[in-house]
Symmetry: C3
Subunit: 428 residues, 3 copies
Amino acid sequence: MSDQLERRLFDELEQLPLIDPHTHINPHAAASETLADILGYHYYTELAHSAGLSREQIEEPGLEPRELVGRLAPFLEQLDNTVQVSWLVEMCREFFGFEGDRIGADNWEAVYDAALRVMSADDWEESVLRASGLEQVFLTNDFDDPLEGFDTSRYVPCLRTDDLVFHLCRQATRDRFEQASGTAVSDAASLKSGLASLFEHFTSRGARACAISLPPDFTPAVPDVIAADAALSRVDGDTEWTCDEATAVSRLVFWSLSESCSDFGLPFDLMIGVNRQVYPDGVFQGQDLFDKRTSLKQYAELFNAFPGVTYPISVLSSTSNQELVSYSWIFPNVITNGHWWYSNIPAYIEADCRSRLQAVPRHKQIGYYSDMYKLEFALPKFRMYRRILARVLAADFVVGHGWSETRALDLGRQVLRGNVDSIFGGVS
Amino acid sequence: MSDQLERRLFDELEQLPLIDPHTHINPHAAASETLADILGYHYYTELAHSAGLSREQIEEPGLEPRELVGRLAPFLEQLDNTVQVSWLVEMCREFFGFEGDRIGADNWEAVYDAALRVMSADDWEESVLRASGLEQVFLTNDFDDPLEGFDTSRYVPCLRTDDLVFHLCRQATRDRFEQASGTAVSDAASLKSGLASLFEHFTSRGARACAISLPPDFTPAVPDVIAADAALSRVDGDTEWTCDEATAVSRLVFWSLSESCSDFGLPFDLMIGVNRQVYPDGVFQGQDLFDKRTSLKQYAELFNAFPGVTYPISVLSSTSNQELVSYSWIFPNVITNGHWWYSNIPAYIEADCRSRLQAVPRHKQIGYYSDMYKLEFALPKFRMYRRILARVLAADFVVGHGWSETRALDLGRQVLRGNVDSIFGGVS
Amino acid sequence: MSDQLERRLFDELEQLPLIDPHTHINPHAAASETLADILGYHYYTELAHSAGLSREQIEEPGLEPRELVGRLAPFLEQLDNTVQVSWLVEMCREFFGFEGDRIGADNWEAVYDAALRVMSADDWEESVLRASGLEQVFLTNDFDDPLEGFDTSRYVPCLRTDDLVFHLCRQATRDRFEQASGTAVSDAASLKSGLASLFEHFTSRGARACAISLPPDFTPAVPDVIAADAALSRVDGDTEWTCDEATAVSRLVFWSLSESCSDFGLPFDLMIGVNRQVYPDGVFQGQDLFDKRTSLKQYAELFNAFPGVTYPISVLSSTSNQELVSYSWIFPNVITNGHWWYSNIPAYIEADCRSRLQAVPRHKQIGYYSDMYKLEFALPKFRMYRRILARVLAADFVVGHGWSETRALDLGRQVLRGNVDSIFGGVS
């Protein structure tokens, strides 16, 4: 009975049109052209590399798409237990008519060819959006992205700010900033003024969020403007700042971004906990990991300082989830946001989803985002989440609290879709 | 079948008379007078504030009880998924004849009036104790509480010591100490002597425990008496100690309390992990959070130094639960104690309860306490725990180990009640 | 149906012959002679001590085996909820014809006598190996173990190196090193040369792994050879190094061991997170605990420096499991290894097993090792794991992903046995 209940809830949740509130989609090439666009996703290349395929084999310059898939496919056999490969199989069954349950050395070519046929259709991008129930897809745009040449009502700009906060010591970053904003950054004041230009540009193009990923040891604080100004005043080409100088500048930029979010009414997505390049010999985008010794306590000063800014928070370590639940339960401006990266596997999603639904106000939870690079991933990733959401709704709310299925579904729809509308401003 | 098994175990556990070993009940006003006493609980005010109600609305001076409930009620609709609101609904159904399953803007007045009628009965306090199966309720008493005017065999005093350990720099704390103990604290010796007076007073009134809550970075250690004496010798009004001085005094007071617990045979409840006033603009009692970067390793020196003192330990972060299980498994004087605050939601209770039952001696576990401020909360909170306990007993012991239901219930009764008797000394 | 599915999978997994890839078996006395060899295991003595039995009672010099069991048995009644005691009961039922479900003051003598009869058989060691399905048992050998007088194809040597990394300040350790390796350690070069002798000796006797347990605050790094050489040059008897000197030497020895693992093709088992002697008054082997504030990030430099060395990793804190999953998913040379000590209880095994199966390449997971000191423990410990593994395979793979039972069992067999062969080199 409980299985059937779960199934009914899942089937209903499958019908809901979605907004995907965080992706890395390139709006100029949103859908895949070959299976290599899918298997080239770091989730597969890094696992194949972990399973024994060399980086040189994966990243050989000039490699043909078919050849890349041919090299990766045999390694899928060692990875078929992973949820990542289950996404692949589900995608191929759903979109490309694949009827098997494993993809490997023996059958990848047929899958490749079938995918190629499907993807070659003129309307593939439309088809995959429709089949996946996607109404809108939020992007991750560099701060100097012109945001031109695509439909911003479908592909919604979001201002990604990692480079500004952490790489302002580089000449190239400062050059890009000057070009994009019309302002050379030389101190707190020019930074502030330049940021205003960027926010102006982004919001004029329909941007819905500012976003950043942050290392575990980052602690935002009211910036020491004098120290930051001093560091900024001595930049000259690619500059090596001392640790203190780098901290002063990072805090200044981060704080200024929060001020701009306040000024422009943008939510500020914080993705907390990633260490970059922990494995520098890893494949592209497969080099980052984390250190669980981090706390949302580090952000208390920020949350207090900007009561008017909404902070949707993603945590990389599942051990941070209870802090996220508790900080969202207390701070009006803290929102739980999806299940990020190393926490985006069913074992962690279920535990984290359950605790959030039990203790965070229902309108302060963004259930899921895909984080995808290609449109085809939304369907299997959201479906994984919907299965878990249906299970938690069934067990904890219908069975546990005696809720009607309708009432449980209302809650499910709210975290899956409604809150994306209300927190980020909805379909424009 | 497993559902029915769980139900049978739950029904049996429901019959067990309880001692609630940690509450914040005011013995002079133990039961609620209006629904505002219930909705005024920080669990509701902080969630309503998190959901958007301003502190000014909640804490307006002179606010009538009915008006407070009227302001809070509409926000319950955003909170109906939370376990906290499920307690409220269960309470209203159980005590006030409420027959619905949601309380909000539309129906709060009827609930308010029904509650008022019930609470106005002369024997409401008796009724709620009886209906909740409560035989005794442990209190949280300030160190200078006269402990007079109430039945200490029903409302059992416990000596709360946060102020002494952390706020002795304040003139008011020292004045209260002098008044209560007859001793002005000026050094380690006078502190020790004054504490003896307090413990004498408390134990003469039937006190069962000394208790304290501690921040994540607190590390008790053999105190540096010379440094502490020096700090104490220079107090003058509200004194600003250096960080080192404050640490020296806190460690001295904490260590002296442990010595007094040893001398007077009192368990020392340690509630580990709370950061106070992380959100200073939050509502009353809705300002505290935590930093999960803490370890019971910080307490090893203490546990070694006082083998004769029993330490029932509560941890605020569920990520500390495995340490608590392991330290209780190894240290004879460490006891697992309930599910505290941000860990007091089903997702964390179930995981924590399960691991404790699997690895901690059965007589070293205090299953649950309500932490309540008003008597009406014991019933729904203990019931939540009993449901989870029944589930774990059914799955892990009856089904998993082939235990009889009787044997599983014996274990359940021991952690729910028997150990409270044996660890704190039982009904006097 | 799901219960029956689990049962079928479990029954199949029970048939699989095992290699136990980490134990503390003494190959000269592998099986128990009396029940005291079993109840003398620290899992029971430390729990009995935690439950109230004094260390003096447990460790009285010259205590007869029967008397020891007689003293411990009454305390088992307080411990019957623990999984550790469930191993004992299962063992006694399986091996000694015990038909009850509790062992305590009333019936321990009959169990003792029955066990004695069974253990007295000439072929008891063979019998228990056969009944437990054990083909090979990996050992934990001191670095100066002569590795003689036993069948190394059954009892496989592994080089344990804690003493070298952490206790080289002791004259006795250096003497043992010189005697075993023929080289007096006086600097990095002589250390390296001596280690080569030890590895030569161990691999010539069929050693399959180098192993070490590490405290939470250990951070391997490229060693400062000059500092380490300076510290080594001034040793004289039992030497007190400064903290910096001790760190320099530990890092040097650890790094040199990794180099030797690379040279000799041995996996390096890292068991991360134990603090020794946290409770110095505890019973033998019942004094160690942990501090969860540790991260695999501390090992990133190591994993990068030795891509050719395989590191099977055990973590003591379950809160480290997600890091282990993620680091194994990214680093080709990181392997998940079993469920260690305080994480070796069903609540943690199930959560940890589930996440590993969902995200780590299937050939990079060593499901379980017993860590046993006496052969009788393999059966109940592996059985506990097989139950959990069957549950996860049933729920997540057969039900969750629609896998056939055959396919799920292939995965189960691989993590339970196949990967031990492929990672450590299999039956010789």
